[in-house]
Symmetry: C2
Subunit: 542 residues, 2 copies
C-alpha cells in the first residue's frame, strides 16, 4: 500500500471512529443547537431572501468531488450556504404552512433515533422498535375507533395483521388506503385470482365494469390525484364533487355524480371525506358520507392528515363525528402531532384490511414473522414512530387538546382581526385553525356588490395580482409569511380567486404577531407596484 | 381560566421554549451520544435478546395517556425499554444486514436537518434545500450517465424538469421508475388522453394488449412485486426469469419469456436489471440487457439500490458496464452512501422522463415553479438530501471508492475463510461484498455428490433446519449476526436451500471478527438441539 493510500485509509477510519471535537465547527454548531435551537435558528437563518437563482450558484457543480474534504470546511459551508438560506419554518410569524415549531425534546430524541439507525422493515433490525410502532398505530386506532381492550390485546401485536401502516407522510398513507380499497373490491373470486395477481385490466373484465372511480370534494389534497394515477384508475376517474358555501362536499352533487358513474358503468372504489382540507381546513359531513358509502357499498376513507388530531379535543372532536365509521383514516404526524418531517400513518378499522396488500420475501417478511414490512408500501424505514410515541407520552391527550384548542381559538382571533380591519376580506372562516382572506380596500368592498358581470371578474383578477404580489414580497422580506392559493368562491358565483392562506398551529404565535402580519401586508400594498394595480381597479370601477 | 388549565398551558409553552437542561436525563443521553456514539451504543444496547413477546409487554397499552408526563421519566423509559432492546446495527460483528455504522459527522448534521425541519415538497418551505437536492440528483446522474457540463448546466435547476427524484428508499424509487415507464408507454395518443388521465383499462383497450409485464430475474427485490401490484399490472405479470449458476439473469430464458409474452399479446413495460441483488450481491449482464431492451423497445431500469456506489471504484465499476444505457436507475443512499435510514433516489437518463408523472396543485407546485414535489411520488419530505450532499462532499469519490474496494476485498477474505474451514460450504461467492454460505460438516460435504435423488432433498432439508436454528441462536445471543435466506442452488439441481447471508459493508469489520462469526456458529452447532439434526443426517446417509 502506498503512503497516500494508507493515509486515505486512516482518514476513512477516522470519520467512522473519531467523534467531532466539541470545539470543532460542527461540534460548536451542534452544541449551539443543543443549548437553544430557537436562538440558533434566529441567529443563523438570514431573513432577507436571496433570489433562488442566486442561491443555485452555490449548488451548481454536477460532479462529485474527487478528494475528501475536511468536516470543518463543510460545516462552514452548511452554516453559510444552507442554514443561512433555509426557511425559518418554526418562526411564530410564519403562519403560511403546516410545519410548526417542534417541542424541544424532539431534537435529542431524533438524535437517539438516528444514532440507533434501526430499520423498521423487519424485527431483525428494529427489535423493540417493532412493538413500539405497533403500539403507536394501536393508540391512533383507539383515538379514532375506540374499540375495547380485548380488541387491542388481540390485534396490537398479531403477526399476520396490522391496525395500520406507518409511512413517510400523508401521500403514502392515502395511496395505501386506496390500494387496499382497490384490492379488496377486486379480490380473488372463483377463477379470478384477484387484482393483486392478475392486474386491473383483467379485474375490470372479470367484474364487467368500464372503470373504477374515487369520489371526493374539490378541496381534495393533490395526493389523491397521484394515487389514482399510480393505481391505474386514472385522474379522470377522480371525481371532484362541488362544495357548498362552507367548502364541504355538497351531498346532492355527490349523489348526482354517483348516478352519472352508474350510468357509465363505472364502479366507485372509494368515497373520501376530508377532515381538515389543506386549503381551508374544513371538514366534510363525515356522518352523511358514511351513510352514503354504506348505501352504495364502497370503501369510506377519511383524509384527516391535517384535522385528525382534533380528536384530542373534547370541545372540537364532535366536528369529526362519523370518522369512527371510516374504513381507513390518514393522519400525518409531522403536522399536528408536532413531530419532525417525514411521518404519516394510515389506520384501518378492520385488522384484516391490510391483508389485501400483504407481501413476503425469502430473506425477510416471512410468513408468521412480525416484520412490519409485510404490510407497508415502503420498504426500509427509519424509527420515526418513536417520536410519535414520545409526543403521545410526554404531551399526553390533554396537552394535545390544549394545542388544538389554542390553534382553533387563534384562528378565530385572526378572523376577528381581519373582519375588524376595513381593508381585508375574510374569504373562508376558520372551522379549524386555517382561514383564507385577501386584501380588498374598504371602498372597493362596498362596491363589489354593484359590479356588473364584466367588471367583477376583471376586478377579481386585479385583486388576484395584488394577493400574489403581496404574498411574494412578504415572503421575500422574510419577517412573516402567509401562503396563497386559488379557491372557487361561493360569494363570487363560483369564480376562482387568489387568497392568502393562514395556518395557526404554532403555539408561539401571538395576537400581536397576527396583527403585525396584517400591518406588513398593508405596508406592502403602499409600494408603487401594488398601488398600480389599485389604480387600475379605480379606473375600472370609476 | 382555571389554575390547572393555566399550569397546563405554561407547561405546554415550556416544552416549546425551554431547552432540555444538560444535566437532565435526556440532556445527558444527548451529550453521551455527541461525545461518543459508538461507546453509547455499546454500553446501552443489551446484547442478550429478550423474547419479542416479552418486549411487547412494555408496548401494550392501547390508549393515549391522558396526562402529560415528564421528559425525564420518558427519557428513562427510552433508555431502558427502547435503546436497550434495539438492534446494534452499527456493530462490526453484525454482518447480516445492509445497515452499517455511520460516519460521525452524520449525527450532528442530522440534528441540523431536524432543527431546520424543512419540507422539500416546495421552495417556500425549503429554499436553499431545493437547489441542494437538485445538485445531489445531478451528481448521482453524472456518476451514472456522465453527460457533459452543458447538459447539467441546462437541466440541473430547470423548473419543468428533473434529473431524478429523491425519496424515502429504494421501494419508492423502483415504483417511481416503473410508474414513469408505464405512463410513457401508455401516453396520450390521438383521442386517448393517456393512462395518467384515463387509467390502465382504457390504455390497454386503446393499445390492444392483453396486459403489461415487467421482466426481471428471480433475484429481484420484493419491492418490484409491490410496484406491479400497486400500478395495476399484477404480480403474475412480474415475470421472474431464471438465473444462471452465478445468480445472473439467463439471457436465453429471458428471450423465451419474452416470446411467451408476445404470444399472449402482453406488452413488456420494462426490463429490469439488478446491480447487486439483495440476497447474493450479483450483477446482471447490464450491457446485454440494454441491447435486448433496445431490441424489443422497452424501458430499461436498473435496480442498483445496493450496488450503484460500485461506480465510485475505478477497479470494480466495469462490473456495472451498461448501466449508463439504462432509462432509469435506483440507488439507495441509506445503504452504501452511509447515510441514516430513509434516503433513496431514482435517476432518469432523460430530463423529460418525469414529465410522465408530473402533477400540480393550486397552493403549491404551480406551473413554472421549481417545487420538487411536482415530480415525486411522495409529498412532504425531509431534507435528507443534505446528508447525501455531506457524504459526497466530505468523503469524496475517492473515499467512497476506498469503502467499496474494502468491502469487496472483505467479501473475498470471508469467502477464503469459509472455504478454508472444512465445516462450511460457500454457496454463492461474492461478486461484490455479499456472499452466502452454510454449515455443512466436512464428512457430509464429501458424501453429498453420492446421495441419491431421495436422500439429497432430505439432507438439504435437515441442513436447512441447522441453518435456521444456528442463525436464530446466534441472533439471540446478540454478539454477532448474519441473516438468512432461501436460494435455488444451481449446484443442487435448482433445489431451494437455506443459507447464511453476509453483507460486508461496515468498514470496522475486521478479519478477526469474521473468524469469530464462524467460531460462534461452530459452537452453536455443538448445542444439543442442533446436534440432533446432525444425528438425523448421519442416520439418513449411513
Amino acid at each position: 500500500m502506498t503512503e497516500t493510500a494508507l493515509a486515505n485509509l486512516q482518514n476513512l477510519y477516522r470519520i467512522f471512529t473519531v467523534p467531532e471535537a466539541p470545539d470543532s465547527t460542527l461540534g460548536a454548531v451542534d452544541q449551539a443547537i443543543s443549548e437553544n435551537v430557537a436562538d440558533f435558528l434566529q441567529k443563523h437563518i438570514v431573513a432577507l431572501e436571496r433570489s433562488l437563482e442566486d442561491i443555485e450558484n452555490d449548488f451548481s457543480a454536477s460532479k462529485i468531488p474527487e478528494e475528501p474534504s475536511f468536516v470543518s470546511a463543510y460545516a462552514e459551508f452548511v452554516k453559510q450556504k444552507l442554514v443561512a438560506q433555509s426557511v425559518h419554518t418554526a418562526a411564530p410569524g410564519f403562519i403560511g404552512h403546516m410545519t410548526s415549531a417542534l417541542p424541544y425534546f424532539m431534537l435529542p430524541l431524533s438524535r437517539i433515533m438516528t444514532a440507533l439507525n434501526q430499520n423498521l422493515v423487519k424485527v431483525e433490525t428494529s427489535k423493540a422498535f417493532t412493538p413500539m410502532e405497533r403500539q403507536v398505530l394501536a393508540m391512533l386506532h383507539h383515538l379514532i375507533y375506540h374499540q375495547d381492550d380485548s380488541f387491542y390485546s388481540r390485534w396490537i401485536h398479531a403477526s399476520q395483521h396490522a391496525l395500520g401502516a406507518f409511512c413517510s407522510g400523508g401521500t403514502i398513507a392515502n395511496t395505501t388506503a386506496l390500494w387496499v380499497a382497490r384490492n379488496q373490491l377486486c379480490g380473488p373470486d372463483g377463477t379470478f385470482a384477484g387484482i393483486a395477481r392478475e392486474g386491473l385490466f383483467k379485474a375490470l373484465q372479470h367484474l364487467d365494469y368500464n372503470g373504477l372511480a374515487v369520489l371526493v370534494s374539490r378541496r381534495a389534497h393533490y395526493s389523491l390525484g397521484k394515487a389514482v394515477d399510480l393505481l391505474g384508475i386514472g385522474r379522470d376517474n377522480l371525481v371532484l364533487v362541488d362544495t357548498d358555501a362552507d367548502s364541504r362536499i355538497d351531498m346532492r352533487a355527490l349523489k348526482s355524480a354517483y348516478l352519472k358513474l352508474q350510468h357509465q358503468n363505472i364502479r366507485p372504489l372509494a368515497l373520501v371525506g376530508i377532515a381538515g382540507t389543506t386549503e381551508t381546513g374544513h371538514i366534510d359531513p363525515l356522518e352523511e358520507l358514511a351513510d352514503f358509502a354504506a348505501e352504495i357499498g364502497c370503501h369510506f376513507h377519511v383524509d384527516a392528515a391535517w384535522g385528525g388530531p382534533t380528536l384530542f379535543s373534547k370541545t372540537h372532536s364532535p366536528l369529526l363525528k362519523g370518522i369512527e365509521r371510516a374504513d381507513s383514516v390518514t393522519i400525518d404526524a409531522h403536522k399536528q402531532l408536532y413531530v419532525p418531517m417525514g411521518a404519516g400513518m394510515v389506520l384501518f378499522k378492520d385488522p384484516h384490511a391490510l391483508s389485501a396488500i400483504e407481501h413476503h420475501a425469502n430473506y425477510i417478511l416471512r410468513h408468521g414473522s412480525k416484520d412490519l414490512g409485510s404490510h407497508t408500501l415502503e420498504g426500509s424505514r427509519p424509527g420515526m414512530a418513536m417520536l410519535v410515541h414520545a409526543g403521545l407520552s410526554i404531551i399526553g391527550r390533554k396537552g394535545y387538546e390544549l394545542l388544538i384548542d389554542l390553534g382553533i381559538e387563534k384562528g378565530r382571533q385572526f378572523a376577528r382581526l381581519i373582519n375588524a380591519h376595513s381593508n381585508f376580506e375574510l374569504i373562508t372562516a376558520p372551522e379549524l385553525n386555517i382561514l383564507t382572506y385577501r386584501f380588498n380596500p374598504a371602498w372597493l368592498q362596498k362596491k363589489m356588490g354593484q359590479l356588473d358581470q364584466q367588471q367583477l371578474p376583471q376586478v377579481n383578477q386585479l385583486l388576484d395580482l395584488i394577493t400574489q404580489e403581496v404574498q411574494k414580497r412578504q415572503r421575500e422580506a422574510g419577517k412573516t409569511f402567509v401562503s396563497r392559493t386559488r379557491l372557487r368562491s361561493a360569494h363570487y358565483h363560483g369564480e376562482q380567486i387568489s387568497v392568502f392562506r393562514a395556518v395557526l398551529a404554532n403555539p408561539l404565535t401571538t395576537e400581536a404577531i397576527l396583527a403585525a402580519v396584517l400591518e406588513e401586508q398593508c405596508a406592502i400594498v403602499k409600494e408603487t407596484e401594488v398601488q398600480n394595480f389599485i389604480e387600475e381597479i379605480k379606473q375600472l370601477v370609476a
